[in-house]
Amino acid sequence: MTTLTAKDKQTVKAFWAKVSGKSEDIGADAVARMLVVYPQTKIYFSHWPDQSPNSPAARKHGITVMMGVGDAVTKMDDLKEGLKELSQLHAFTLRVDPGNFKILSHNILVVMAVMFPTDFTPDVHVSLDKFLAAVSLALSEKYR
């Protein structure tokens, strides 16, 4: 289900080229929505003095996450290899339950719809959904 076709890769790269200028805002909004719509995800951020969705820490985290997504776009021909350090980080240090990757991915898609309603067509949606699923799988690689 996560094999990216040539069309998927092309579609994601083209869409990313259009939207990457706003990647900080995209990331910040996606993380903010995640914290509000799925409050259980806040458990991973108990070390933040301010866990509110628009706090500086939340925004900074959104930026970090989106930089990771942007990096994954450049490595999409071998995500397992390209994301292996990030996978180690998530597996051994952060220990984020992989179910949450789906949650954040969903919120990234919602933000794309909000910010780019005409560009985020169904064809772009399916390719981006597959790409984020492939990234999530690569991030889960080192867990066990």
């Binding site: 929505r33 919602v110 909000v114 910010m115 309603p117 169904p122 064809d123």
Partner: protein, 147 residues
């Protein structure tokens, strides 16, 4: 049974009072059939679903999308007992339509995304949370009569 705050009820009422069913319905269903193509299994009588353009241009898909979206009105009118509101539709989806309840989430996510595209920044995180809570309640109710 789901508990709703006054604010949540007001948010849901507000969303539906401005909802363009004829626009959102077709867009949500066609997006579902494109993004999750295995959901096409329920629509073998709909003709050409061969690619995204065909699905988007398909009149039966559009008509059905409007019908399905209006199905949410049942929950809107009976928010304090959504389970009762969907008892019959739940039996229908289980006994007659044989829809995998996991697929409810797929359509639900597409409705959310199409609504987000329509409302833009007005679709705040709080609005999203309330709307997804409502859809979650509807999905749970629709799954209740499966056995």
């Amino acid at each position: 049974m789901v508990n709703w705050t006054k604010t949540e009820k007001a948010t849901i009422t507000d969303i539906f009072s401005h909802l363009d069913y004829d626009d959102i319905g077709p867009k949500a269903l066609s997006r579902c059939l494109i993004v999750y193509p295995w959901t096409q299994r329920y629509f073998s009588g709909f003709g050409n679903l061969y690619n995204a353009a065909a699905i988007i241009g398909n009149a039966k898909v559009a008509e059905h999308g409007i019908k399905v979206l209006h199905g949410l009105d049942l929950g809107l009118k009976k928010m304090d007992n959504i389970e009762a509101a969907y008892a019959d539709l739940s039996s229908l989806h289980s006994e007659k339509l044989h829809v995998d309840p996991d697929n409810f989430k797929l359509l639900s996510d597409c409705i959310t995304i199409v609504l987000a595209a329509k409302l833009g920044s007005a679709f705040t995180a709080e609005t999203q949370a309330t709307f997804q809570k409502f859809l979650g309640a509807v999905m749970s109710a629709l799954g209740k009569q499966y056995h």
